[in-house]
Symmetry: C2
Subunit: 128 residues, 2 copies
C-alpha cells in the first residue's frame, strides 16, 4: 500500500497534487470549496496530507465513472466510518451505491461486447 511506503512524503503543496494527477490547482480549490477535501492550513497556504491525497484519488476515480461532485461527496462520506454514527444507514447507502454501480457494470459489459462484435465485422470485411 502506498500509505505504508516510507518513501512517500506526508506533506504536499497544491501544485504537487495538481502535477501528480494532471489537474488544475483551480479544480483542487473547487473541490475544497465543495467540501470534498479539507486540507490543513499554514497561514493561508493549503497543506495536504496523505489522507487528502487519498481522497483526491477517490474523487478522480468517481469522475472517471461519470459521477457528479455531489454524488462523489456522498460517496466519500461512506469512507469516513468513524464519523458515521448510523452504521445501519451506512450499510443501506452502500447497498444503494452498489446497485447503481452494478447497473453501470452491466451497461459497460453490454457496450464492450457490442463494440467487440462491431470490430469483428469490420476486420472480417478487411480480410475478405
Amino acid at each position: 500500500m502506498n500509505a505504508n511506503d516510507p518513501d512517500s512524503p506526508d506533506l504536499y503543496s497544491i501544485a504537487d497534487l495538481a502535477r501528480e494527477f494532471g489537474i488544475s490547482t483551480r479544480a483542487i480549490r473547487f473541490y475544497e470549496s465543495k467540501g470534498l477535501i479539507a486540507p490543513e492550513r499554514l497561514g493561508a497556504t493549503r497543506v495536504f496530507r496523505r489522507r487528502d491525497r487519498a481522497r483526491l484519488i477517490l474523487i478522480l476515480r468517481g469522475k472517471r465513472l461519470g459521477f457528479s461532485l455531489r454524488e462523489i461527496s456522498d460517496y466519500l462520506g461512506l469512507y469516513d466510518a468513524d464519523r458515521n454514527q448510523q452504521v445501519t444507514m451506512l450499510a443501506e447507502k452502500v447497498d444503494e451505491r452498489l446497485n447503481l454501480l452494478e447497473q453501470q457494470l452491466a451497461d459497460l459489459q453490454t457496450t464492450i461486447a457490442e463494440l467487440k462484435e462491431i470490430r469483428k465485422l469490420a476486420t472480417q470485411r478487411v480480410a475478405s
Copy 2:
C-alpha cells in the same frame, strides 16, 4: 430481439418515446439538434422509427456510463458501418473506445470491491 417482434410498432411520436424512456420531449429534440438522431418528418411533426428508438437506447446507456453527448455522438458513428468508408480507421476508433471502457470497467470493479469491504466492516460492527 425487439426489432423482430412483430407486435412492436414501427412508428412513434416524440411523446411515445419520452414516456417509454422517462425523459422529456425537450431532451429528445435536443438530441436531434445535436445530430444524435434524425427522425423523419410528417410536415413539421417528428416521426420516429425503430432505428431512432434503438439509437435512443444507445444514447441513454451512454449517459448512464457518464459520457457526454459529444462522445456519444462519436460512439453512435461506430454503429453506422455502412456509412463508414474507412474500415481500418473504424477498427482503430473502436479499439480506442474499448480501451476507455475497460479502464472504466477496472475503476468500477475496484470501487465495488471497496464498497463491499466497507459494508462488511459495517455489518461486523452491527453484529458485535
